[in-house]
């Protein structure tokens, strides 16, 4: 058994003997708001040397002394890629009005230059955060500072192959930082989101069956009782028919069911 040292995806996806597939990064949700296994947004906080970014938006939370002028500003452009997008939608008078602006996730925002510019300086532009955090944002705020910042390689370097390895470099995140912005305790995340983008880890609608009327019936995964098959809406820990936070803290192992083939399993 051997692997090409340059084949990094094969290394990252390597199933060590005895490891089930749930041990692999492919089993971990990453459209993380904030996530379950990791808040993977944390890998971008130190992607520029000399500054630390907020995991979810442009705020510069820490800097070296030399770059202290950037602290408290927001990164709005890097290597020509904008980190803010307009939020658009209809208003009573305009079917396609600008409603607001929002930072887009780092992973896609930085992807255009991350690999090609690793170890090199790129031009970063910064703006002042809005004075009123609740006010509507501008997607192209005035630039108040510009800096040439070196893109820190995300992956550790191999001196032997003189290239990246599949390891997220130690300089990127210290122990505890990949999970630091997740819910505390983790059970909270099973209760509060109301948007099921992580059905693989946290199913929503199970034991479904078709009905003579067309649409199906099924169980709400978080329901206390699975009989009869009723879906409880909205998802809420305050609904006596659904598990509460406290139920999960006390006995998540006894209450939550593994779902295989869409049906209860054990």
């Amino acid at each position: 058994m051997s692997i090409e040292p340059a084949n990094l995806t094969a290394q990252m996806q390597h199933r060590a003997a005895g490891n089930p597939p749930s041990t692999l990064p492919a089993a971990a949700i990453s459209n993380c708001f904030p996530g379950l296994e990791f808040d993977f947004r944390n890998i971008w906080r130190r992607i520029f040397e000399g500054i630390e970014l907020h995991e979810a938006h442009g705020l510069v939370t820490a800097t070296t002394n030399a770059l202290s002028r950037l602290r408290g500003l927001e990164l709005v452009e890097a290597a020509g890629e904008r980190t803010l997008v307009e939020v658009r939608g209809p208003t009573p008078t305009d079917p396609d009005a600008v409603l607001d602006a929002s930072f887009i996730e780092w992973s896609n925002a930085l992807a255009g230059f991350l690999r090609t510019s690793a170890g090199q300086a790129v031009t970063c532009r910064f703006a002042r955060p809005p004075a009123n955090p609740n006010a509507r944002r501008d997607a192209t705020p005035p630039i108040v500072a510009t800096a040439e910042l070196v893109v820190r390689p995300l992956f550790a370097h191999s001196d032997v192959t003189d290239g990246p390895t599949g390891l997220i470099d130690e300089a990127i995140a210290q122990p505890g930082e990949l999970t630091q912005s997740l819910c505390s305790p983790w059970q909270n995340d099973y209760r509060e989101c109301g948007c099921y983008y992580w059905a693989a880890s946290r199913p929503d609608y199970v034991n479904r069956e078709s009905t003579p009327q067309g649409p199906s019936i099924g169980n709400d995964w978080m329901a206390r009782s699975y009989d009869p098959k009723v879906y409880h809406e909205p998802d809420s820990g305050g609904d006596p028919e659904q598990f509460s936070y406290e139920d999960l803290f006390d006995d998540w192992q006894g209450l939550l069911r593994f779902i295989v083939g869409g049906q209860d399993s054990e």
């Binding site: 058994m1 692997i3 990252m12 996806q13 060590a16 490891n19 597939p21 749930s22 990064p25 492919a26 089993a27 971990a28 949700i29 990453s30 459209n31 379950l36 296994e37 990791f38 993977f40 890998i43 979810a56 938006h57 939370t61 997008v85 939020v87 939608g89 079917p95 409603l99 929002s102 930072f103 996730e105 992807a111 995300l154 032997v160 390891l167 130690e170 122990p175 505890g176 999970t179 630091q180 997740l182 505390s184 305790p185 995340d189 099921y196 880890s201 609608y205 479904r208 199906s216 879906y231 809406e233 909205p234 936070y245 406290e246 803290f249 998540w252 192992q253 069911r257 295989v260 054990e266």
Partner: protein, 438 residues
């Protein structure tokens, strides 16, 4: 000669559970005869480690899979293997024999593990709220990872599980470490030393000293709070004050060092512990693997990267999420509800289209068509990464639909995933006569 060591996988995920026996190994495979069905879970070769000796007592394929044991969840406890980059220019597992070639033995291997839970620290910005554990391992005993914190009551800790250097044997000569995570328990806080106060329900132990640390009673208020904010337990108290709850989740770094004569080679890997995969036959549509692949290879795809199989896997994952959610309900709530922050109310899709049977049929039909080898056609319905804030009717209906991304807006695939699909869309509509996609 060994030039370099690596730990594979470089990022291993453990999953909580209090059952004594870790989860068995399995495969989740698409049955070619039932390509629209769920991935079939098939038991696979499992390593059973003797707790006392650290040796692999036996390998076996279980008769059936069970994710629980006597009402408790079986933890997922990954192995981390050390691989060696040799003169042959290939990575291969580090074994007794390879070590012997260097004049070394498994006793020359040292492991060091450092993990932490910084959830409280992230909110309070007080480093004394960091819960950290470390282990230095030179033998094959179980080494507990006791999470300690300056603000814990005296003698209190949170067990983050344990690590064990699996003892290589003739039958299993590879160098590996196993990480077994914590049980997934909740830990509490108090302002008077336990057991002085009344028992706090919900928690297995009271560890945090709220008279010294700020986590008990904390309220998110700084300008760098987590997004979303306030995601800690505050009970029914409308003040949003933290009850000081903590968990035994953690992530950290594993280091394996081997003394080879005058040289010491070190390999590094990462571990994390999180909740179980409650639908183990489903894979998230956008996973950590997709992020890593994009970071590694860039958003642009090379000829040959884009295959029907890759696109089918993306669609399959979407299907796996869709059929575990109540699409009709999500169309009313879920992302539709989150859009209210921007003044958009009302459902996302036409009501008739989110009948969940119909939604399932739709995703199935896309999978069926891809199986014909004809190119995908649905690039125009994909949400681009910079369209996540498009809340027009059309923007909200793009795919993946009714899901949330890391920015809190509508989910987009990674740019690389989207480009994989687009590259095939641009390609020939039909495979050539020989059935091969060029």
């Amino acid at each position: 000669m060994i030039a370099e060591l690596r730990i594979l996988p470089p990022l291993a995920i453990a999953r909580f559970g209090a059952a004594p026996t870790p989860m068995d190994n399995y495969e989740a495979v698409v049955d070619p005869a039932r390509p629209l069905g769920y991935r079939a879970l098939r038991p696979a070769e499992t390593l059973e480690v003797d707790a006392a000796t650290g040796e692999i007592a036996r390998t076996f394929v279980p008769d059936r899979l069970s994710f629980t044991q006597d009402g408790l969840v079986r933890p997922v406890a990954p192995f981390l293997e050390v691989w060696a980059l040799t003169d042959a220019g290939q990575l291969e597992p580090l074994t007794i024999e390879l070590l012997r070639g260097e004049g070394a033995t498994p006793d020359d291997v040292r492991w060091s593990v450092a993990v932490a839970n910084r959830k409280a620290e992230r909110r309070t910005h007080d480093p004394r709220d960091r819960i950290a554990a470390a282990a230095e391992v030179a033998d094959h005993a179980r080494h507990p990872l006791r999470g300690t914190c300056e603000h814990f009551w005296r003698g209190k800790s949170i067990p983050f599980g344990h690590v064990q250097y699996v003892k290589p044997t003739a039958a299993h000569p590879e160098i590996r470490l196993r990480f077994t995570p914590g049980a997934g328990h909740v830990y509490g806080a108090s302002r008077v030393a336990p057991p002085g106060g009344p028992r706090i329900p919900n928690v297995v132990d009271v560890v945090y000293d709220g008279s010294r640390g700020g986590w008990l009673g904390h309220v998110d208020s700084t300008n760098d709070i987590t997004v979303p904010g306030g995601i800690y337990y505050g009970g029914a108290d409308p003040s949003g004050e933290s009850r000081g709850y903590l968990d035994d989740g953690c992530d950290g770094i594993v280091r394996a060092s081997v003394r080879l004569g005058a040289r010491t080679l070190t390999a590094v890997g990462r571990i994390g512990a999180g909740p179980p995969t409650y639908a183990p036959d489903a894979v998230p549509i956008r996973s950590v693997d997709d992020e890593l692949e994009q970071a590694l290879l860039g958003p642009e795809v090379q000829p040959g990267d884009a295959t029907i199989e890759r696109v089918e896997e993306i669609v399959r994952r979407a299907f796996e999420t869709v059929r575990l959610m109540n699409a009709a309900a999500m169309n009313r709530g879920g992302m539709a509800g989150h859009d209210r922050a921007y003044g958009r109310t009302g459902p996302i899709m036409a009501r008739s289209l989110v009948d969940d049977v119909a939604v399932e049929n739709l995703h199935q039909s896309v999978l069926v068509a891809l199986r014909s080898g004809s190119a995908p056609w649905f690039a125009d319905v994909l949400r681009d990464y910079d369209e996540v804030g498009d809340l027009t009717d059309r923007g909200r209906r793009k795919m993946p639909a009714m899901m949330r991304g890391a920015d809190g807006l509508h989910l987009a695939l990674t740019r690389r995933q989207a480009n994989l699909i687009r590259a095939l869309v641009r390609g020939p509509v039909f495979p050539d006569a020989d059935g091969e996609q060029p």
